[in-house]
Structure formats: structure tokens, C-alpha cells
Amino acid sequence: MRHTLLLGAVAYDPKVVTIWTGFRSWFRDRGLDLDYVLYSQYERQVEELLAGRIDLAWNSPLAWLRAQRLARAQDATVRPIAMRDTDRDLTSVVVVRADSAHQTLSDLRGRTVATGAVDSPQATLLPLALLRAAGLDPKVDIEVLRFDVGVGLHGDHVGGERDAAQALRAGRADAACLLDANLLLFGREGTLPAGSVRVLAQTAPYDHCNLTAGPAADPALVDHFGKLLLGMSYADDSARPLLDLEGLKQWLPGRTDRYAALDRAVTETDFYDPRGALGAADYRP
């Protein structure tokens, strides 16, 4: 049994190096030997987690679902150790221009809907599922204008969503799919000036990333890690800059009951098959 806990993270931004180097020092200062490896995309990270080459993975919600499917297929176990307070109860929205005549999702039939990247839970998979639930088949009833920025990063790169918002504003799309927080962000930064858009529909709350322990991880070591992590305080000035960079105020225990909508969307679109194999034909991470 190795005594170093090896964590995988996806390098969606250069700041990821600063974040995990900082966390590594913070844990080592507290007697836990943590190290990390970076991946260029989530699919490889999940495969490595299940292959036992890393103990923990900082997973997107989509990566968590794939980890679960792969684990079931090989009769292994993965468990969520922790998540950020900001990973809980997110929603996605479908917005139209404020002066648009569209009042319901059904009004979008035959219209162009801008989304984020093919693998973005918040800006593609979940909002398109909302459209399906309203009786619109995205493949048949609407024109999906997809912005594939940072494919393989599961929507962590905000660029695709920003492009979708700009397409809506420019009139190249009739609606755009966004994370609620990005609707606020784009309003504040002027990408979507205040009062320029209207929310047509909103998903139910869902959860986002979680820190997943893989089958090879030493359970005692993982428990120790989890205790330290959950004890990390925003009042601690050695931790606060890292928490600010990672976008949270507090770590919370991992929970699994708010991934069901995304799991259904994955199944409906055959994004992954039940054994976790990649199913989406146009997905090239």
C-alpha cells in the first residue's frame, strides 16, 4: 500500500497548477503526503482512476457519472469524498432576447438554440434534456448551434457558453443555454447587458463536481484526507487564497442524489453506454 495519496485534476486553466500545488503544501504541512497529476481532459482521468493509477480524481459531474458506470462494469467501487459549497444546487437556464416573442420552450420549435461544448453538462446536456422534456427533439425539432470550446473539459471552460450568449445577442441564435451563475456573470460583464435577455426555462437544481475516491485508494488514507479537507476553513489565511482560486468558501461532504437528471441525459443521448464506454459520435476529447 503506497502512503502518498495521488490526486488527478484536469488542467482547464493554468491556475490549476497554483491551486493543487498550494493544496499539496497545505496537506503536507498537516502530515498527509498528497501529490497530484494533471490531465488534459476528463475521460483519461476517469480511466486512470478506475485503472488504479490515481487514488482520487477531481471530477466533473459527467466524469463522476462515467466513473460510476465504469466501476459498475468492473465490479469496483468509487465514492464521492467531498464537493465545494458552490457545487450544490446549480441550475441551468434557457434564455431568449428580452424582446423575443417566445414565451415557452415549445415556441423554440424550428428555431436555433445556442449551447456550450458537446460535453458541457450545464450549457448543453442538461438544457437540451429540458427541451426534450418539453417535447422538442434537439436532433429534429430545433437547430442546435453548438460552441465546442475546450472539448474534453466537460464545460469547465466558459468560452463555449460566452460564445453562445454572444450568438444570442447578435441574432444568430433565438435562444441560449447557460449556467445560472454565468447568466449573472455575463450580465455583470456586459456580454448580455442588463435587461437584454429573459429566462424562458430553468432546470431543477443539480450538483456539479466532486472529489472521487477510486478503487485503489487506501480507505484510511482517504478518510484522513477527507477529514482534513472538510476541516479547511475560509478563516485560515493559508487556505483562503486556494479556496478563492478554486471558487468555494467551504468543502462539504460529497452527495450523489442530485446527478440523476444528468445521468438520464447521458443515457438518452447515449453519451456514455451503461458500461462507461464513449457513445457520442461527435465527441473527440
Partner: protein, 392 residues
């Protein structure tokens, strides 16, 4: 009934969060705040905003109700003031206060400032704020403060003497510019009046370099001679690493003597421009000397043992310069010529006596300042005698 705030039409994408934060500021963590408003995306905005700020929306009630979190309080929990008030100059300034203004509430966790001097008594003088106010009030513009058009033509040998003296002055002023610039970059900004004073001092010297250069080149294309001994003497000042010792050697002994030289040049100036530039420089230098004396006296008052370090610094500098020529011959001769005013033996004799009197005045001034700082009279005399022959 929890407190309620009404945002009317205002969205959180247009500054609505300021009103929400203001209302939350008066609540304690766990308290609820009902938010009303007519913005169509209010609920979506609030949910995203609360999540990012460490608050929660109460899922159990219909209208948006915030449950106050504590992240904003946590950030400032261990914050410390950099001095109780803006005027509280503390004995020891924390490097972790970094560049924060004196009196500011400082969030912990920023990078430590890489400065050397953090102890008040090693850099301070109570006179510093007043001297800084004086320094800013007495700034002058070289372009207009000197009547450059008043320069007439002088006899060749007199002009030569002026150019030689100006060449020497520029060299000295360049050293006097570099030293405060170096000191202030190593000083904790908590002692900001000292930092400001040093900055003003460096700016003063920059102007002196300009006016002396400009006077030297008024009628000629080239400057005079730069002796190796003079430069060696100045270099020992630049190389002094300690704040108080550098200030003592430069301002108390060097600029103090220099002040007498500038008065001498003003008195014997053969033309109006030379009289102007030496008068203006002397006014600034007097302020530099005043800080050096006040600061050194402050240090000695806090620790009498420091007199020993001052003495050693003078002796060390004397030893370092023992094998150098000191003031170059041409500068000394030029001073005699300027004081003589003509080439008759009587005039030269008078000039010679004047320069001797200048050296005597410099010595008396040094002894007076050394005694003020705390040296007994006999020791002040002995130390003054060890001062560099290069004046500065």
C-alpha cells in the same frame, strides 16, 4: 418576521448585490433576509450570487429568503490594523502588512514585503513629518528659479574654476541622489513620512544635478576633471548598508560640510547664475542635514550604545580612505581662485585664507552636530578631524 429588502426593478447584474450586502451586514450568520423585487431573473440571480458568496437560499419558503453565511466575516476574522490610527507609528511594523496604508485594516495572508527596516527607532525622527511638509512646500522649478539669461561672460580662468567646481558638485549630488533612493527602497512604508522625505531628497538631488550641470555647460561644451580620490570617498558612502550609519555619514557629516561649501560658493560666486544655483541647493541641503541630525539623535536617545557604532563608522571610513588623495587639487585651487577674485598675490593670499576658513567652519559645524547627537566635545573634535578631505 425576518427583515425584508425591496430591490424594486434592480437586478443583481446592475449592482443589486450592494443593497443585499448592506442589508446582510447587520445580520449574524444564520439570520434570514427576505428579498423582494420585480426583476424577472431575481430568483436565478440570487441563487447564483448566494452560492458564490457563501450564503444560502432557504428552499423551504416561497419568496427568495437568504440565510446569511459567514465567509465574509471569516475573511476579516484575524485582520489586524497596521497601527491603531493613521497617526500611530508603531515600534515594529509587520512585513505582512505589506503595502497597506498605515491605519488600514489588513487582511491576513498577503505576501510579506521584502524590506529590511521595520523598527521605528532605527529609521524615525519626530521631525520627519514637519520636514516632509517643508520639502513639498519648498519645491522649485529649475527652469524658472534660476535666471539663466543673467549669465554674462567671465574671464577664462574664472569660468574654468566655476566649471571645475560644478563638475565636482555634480559628482557629489549623484551620490547624494543614489543613497536616499537606495535607503527608501529598503524601508517599511509604515514609516511613510521618512519614505516621503527620502523621496523628496532624491528629487532635490536630481534637480541639483540638473542645475549644476547646466551652469557648467553654460559657456563650455565639456566639464572639468573627476579625481579618483573624490570618487573613492563618495563610493564609501554608497556602500554603507546600515540606514542610520548611511544617513549619519551622508547627511550629518557629508551634506553638513557640503552646506558650508555651498554658502562659500554663493558668497564668492562670480556670476548671478552660480549664486542662484548654490543658494537653491543649500536651501534643500539644510533640510537633508536636519533629518540626518534629528534621526541620528533619535537613535542615540533610544540607545546610547549606538554612539559606539557611529564612531566606528567614521573610523572605518577614514581607514578606507587613508590611501586616497581626498579632494582633488583642481577643486581646491578653483575654490581659492573664486574666493580670490583676481590673480594678484594679495588676492590669492586672501582666497587661500578664505578656503582655510571654510574648512574651519566645516569642522566647527561637524563638531556642533556631533555634540548635539550626544558625543562629548573632545570626541566630537576627534571624529570631525577624521572626516574625509573630500568634504562630502
Amino acid at each position: 418576521m425576518p427583515p425584508t429588502i425591496d430591490l424594486e426593478d434592480l437586478g443583481l447584474d446592475s449592482g443589486g448585490h450592494l443593497l443585499v450586502e448592506r442589508a446582510l451586514a447587520g445580520l449574524t450568520p444564520g439570520d434570514r433576509l427576505v428579498v423582494r423585487g420585480r426583476h424577472p431573473a431575481l430568483g436565478v440571480h440570487l441563487a447564483a450570487w448566494c452560492r458564490a458568496e457563501g450564503h444560502r437560499l432557504d428552499p423551504a419558503v416561497e419568496g427568495p429568503t437568504i440565510i446569511r453565511g459567514h465567509a465574509d466575516l471569516d475573511r476579516w476574522r484575524d485582520a489586524q490594523r497596521a497601527g491603531a490610527t493613521a497617526n500611530d507609528v508603531v515600534a515594529h511594523a509587520s512585513r505582512h502588512w505589506g503595502l497597506a496604508a498605515r491605519g488600514a485594516l489588513v487582511e491576513p495572508g498577503g505576501p510579506a514585503l521584502a524590506v529590511d527596516w521595520v523598527d521605528r527607532d532605527l529609521v524615525w525622527a519626530d521631525l520627519a513629518p514637519r520636514l516632509y511638509a517643508q520639502a513639498t512646500a519648498n519645491q522649485w522649478d529649475p527652469a524658472t528659479a534660476v535666471d539663466w539669461a543673467a549669465a554674462g561672460s567671465l574671464p577664462e580662468h574664472v569660468e574654468g574654476a566655476v566649471v571645475q567646481v560644478m563638475t565636482y558638485l555634480v559628482e557629489n549630488e549623484q551620490a547624494a541622489l543614489m543613497i536616499p533612493a537606495r535607503l527608501l527602497s529598503r524601508l517599511h512604508p509604515h514609516f511613510r513620512e521618512v519614505m516621503q522625505l527620502l523621496a523628496a531628497q532624491a528629487a532635490d538631488e536630481a534637480r541639483h544635478v540638473e542645475i549644476f550641470s547646466r551652469r557648467a555647460l553654460l559657456n563650455r561644451d565639456v566639464l572639468g576633471l573627476s579625481g579618483a580620490g573624490g570618487r573613492a570617498s563618495l563610493q564609501t558612502l554608497i556602500e554603507e548598508p546600515d540606514f542610520t550609519l548611511a544617513s549619519f555619514l551622508l547627511s550629518v557629516l557629508g551634506e553638513g560640510s557640503f552646506l558650508d561649501l555651498l554658502h562659500f560658493l554663493h558668497r564668492h560666486a562670480p556670476d548671478r547664475v552660480t549664486a542662484d544655483v548654490t543658494r537653491l541647493a543649500a536651501r534643500d541641503e539644510a533640510r537633508h542635514v536636519a533629518f540626518g541630525v534629528a534621526h541620528t539623535a533619535h537613535v542615540v536617545r533610544a540607545d546610547q550604545g549606538f554612539l559606539h557604532l557611529l564612531r566606528t563608522a567614521v573610523e572605518r571610513r577614514h581607514a578606507a580612505l587613508a590611501d586616497t588623495a581626498g579632494l582633488n587639487k583642481q577643486v581646491f585651487d578653483a575654490l581659492v581662485v573664486l574666493a580670490a577674485g583676481s590673480w594678484t598675490p594679495t588676492a590669492i593670499s586672501h582666497g587661500w585664507q578664505e578656503v582655510l576658513r571654510l574648512q574651519q567652519a566645516m569642522d566647527e559645524g561637524r563638531r556642533r552636530r556631533l555634540e548635539y547627537i550626544g558625543f562629548p566635545a573632545d570626541e566630537a573634535a576627534a571624529l570631525s578631524a577624521l572626516h574625509t578631505r573630500n568634504f562630502m
